[in-house]
């Protein structure tokens, strides 16, 4: 669950910013012949509703409905008392607590005589909610609106960039505080967790690849204990719904640390020019430094996920240069793997 700072600050995300996002969405809805846009949210898929309302759930689920005209409605399974709290952290929209969010939104569609409603990621919508929604709005035609939403989401406004920069700063501070000589995974990660949350992080997921000489897989911190001579730490940090990842590889020996620092400098200096050339450019810069690129990926907010792979060594390229992203690499060196990730603005 989310248990870090969850607050809406109008100086960080003004109501006007949220309204501008909704205006963009409404413009696309008009072009696409939709009278309403519907998005589901829970803590695994919060990004679309966070972007269009300012609200991220800490638990449970809900459905946000943006009609072409009128006030957006957020129906949530959270209780009436929690709904009062949601009212203080959701910038735009009316909160309706209900055990059946699908029914409430369906009835709203019927009341507004919505002819065509688009649903984000329709196939993924819980069937119980989808059925309730559709049965409560029998005169509404429903379609998947994910393709309509994607290009709008591929552009970031100043507020979103600022939140992501803050999350990146928190992640950097955690990395700076990391002790490469930590006795165990737990000794390594606890100070990161503490610092991030003391500084106002909404969430932090920490993963560790405890022995880069053998395995590049990032484990959860309750399934790894011993740190080898080379290891990697991945921090996925959220600040008020702005997410970044940062991965750093550490070597306990001074020679290893020098090699890793050199690769880090190369990686930090890399600026992607376009999706198609990223693969070749990355291969070249690491080859020039005696290493081999094994894989890479770019992540950006897409649909319900705060970070989804939009380009990489194994996926089609849908990367947008006009929004922040996270670049991750897995590089093979003489001593084993070297992992890195950083946000790109």
């Amino acid at each position: 669950m989310r248990r870090g700072l969850m607050a809406w600050d109008a100086s960080e995300v003004p109501v006007a910013t949220i309204e501008a996002r909704q205006d963009k969405l409404r413009e696309a809805m008009r072009s696409g012949g939709l009278d309403a846009f519907i998005a589901y949210t829970n803590i695994a898929r919060p990004a679309a509703v966070s972007w269009m309302s300012g609200f991220t759930p800490y638990w449970s689920e809900g459905i946000y409905c943006l009609p072409l005209k009128g006030t957006p409605v957020f129906a949530t399974a959270l209780s009436k008392r929690v709904a009062e709290w949601i009212g203080t952290v959701m910038a735009v929209g009316k909160v309706e607590p209900t055990p059946q969010p699908g029914v409430v939104i369906g009835k709203k569609l019927a009341e507004l005589k919505i002819a065509n409603a688009g649903i984000l990621e329709l196939d993924d919508l819980p069937a119980k909610q989808a059925r309730a929604l559709m049965e409560s709005a029998p005169d509404t035609a429903f379609c998947d609106a994910s393709k309509m939403f994607a290009p709008i989401r591929a552009e970031a406004d100043a507020s979103e960039i600022a939140l992501i920069r803050k999350a990146a700063a928190l992640a950097s501070e955690c990395i700076e505080r990391t002790d490469p000589q930590a006795a165990s995974v737990q000794d390594l990660v606890a100070p990161c967790e503490l610092h991030a949350r003391l500084s106002g992080a909404e969430e932090i997921f920490i993963n560790v690849a405890p022995d880069l000489s053998a395995d590049a897989r990032l484990k959860r911190t309750d399934t790894a204990s011993t740190l080898a001579d080379t290891f990697a730490l991945r921090l996925s940090v959220a600040y008020k719904a702005g997410w970044v990842r940062m991965t750093r590889s550490f070597a306990r020996t001074s020679a290893g640390a020098t090699d890793f620092d050199r690769l880090q400098q190369v990686f930090d200096a890399f600026v992607p020019q376009s999706g198609n050339s990223i693969d070749a450019m990355l291969r070249q810069i690491f080859a020039d430094n005696g290493a081999t690129l094994k894989s890479w990926q770019l992540e950006q907010p897409r649909g319900g996920y705060p970070l989804a792979i939009v380009a990489g060594s194994e996926v089609d390229n849908t990367w947008s240069a006009s929004a922040p992203s996270v670049l991750s690499v897995d590089v093979e060196t003489a001593s084993g793997h070297w992992l890195a990730a950083r946000p790109l603005f």
């Binding site: 669950m1 700072l5 607050a7």
Partner: protein
Amino acid sequence: MAGNAANMSGGSTLQKARTEALREAMAREKIDVLVLMGNNWHADYLRYGTDFGIQEGQGIALVRADGSTTLLLDDAAECERARGETAGCDVVHAPRLVQETRDRIKRSGNRSLAASPMHLLPFGLLKLEEDDLRIADGAPVIEQLLMTKMEVELDCIRRASVLADEGYVIFRDAARPGRKDYELIAEIEGFFRSRGIAENFMIIGVGGQEVRGMAPPGGKVLKAGDLVTTELSPCVDGYYAQLCRTLVVGEASETQKKAFSVYQEALEEGIKTVRAGVTAADVARAENDVFRKYDLGKYTTSEYTRVRGHGMGLFLDQKPQILEDVDIKLIDGMTMIVHPNTYHPDAGYMVLGDALVVRPDGHECLSTLSRELFSVNAS
């Protein structure tokens, strides 16, 4: 360290026991394939079937009657992690999770399908009905298994409960005037990570008579006289144990002490009622009768409180919910928290709750922390 890292062999024993129990239940219900869904909110069903603790994205497990299990995950990094952290599962990266699951079910040709939890079943899987494949509710197969714990599961919950007690001491020591609510939670999270605990459910309330519940921290600054309420719930090997306590910043007022005594009495009465064979309603009634005795009955209604306790295990808030209209019978081995948390008109929202294991002749109380209204230095 309390987490999996120190208990990988135990984890294996645990998963073998769960797998066997699941297969038996599937055979009993004549189910060919059990479809289990999960994400970071509801990780319990997926964890029971695969032992994978999902962190990001979504996952679906296809547990087959022949003993094989396929775990499909839409997040590439989670997929790699699952390959390292689960045994006995075929792990598949499925960026188009629903479509891939649908295709696999169709290809398998199985006819007796069930899914759990039904409220997470993706809409896209209903398209299987076009191929005459209907998905039944898998609750009869797995719900009882989730509610009633085996001894290997109870070991995890006992360890989590010890950490909840220790964590509350950290929380209490961190509470002082001028600190923000999220800083208290930061301290406890740092402590839990140092002990190998990756997950925790926790909400908080700060203030006085005006506070009507708990929520995530929003930046409230503690001041003298405030009540600070929390329920904290560390998770060991996937199993949660919860503890609810209230503290006062500074000396508790007579009003606060008097109000809290009602919660102490209600908790005691609720806990005294717990034994195999009674219903969840019996426990709720015992708690609520105490409030009614003091003319506080209205504060036991849904206007002021959600539940008077609940089951806990791989999900923090599992069945049975402790409410006067829930007639689920308590069974030996169930784990639950009894918590008469609610609003008090004189003092504000107060919480108090202990974790228990239901036993044939009573209960085993897992929480060892004093049930007092704690007080911390206000200077």
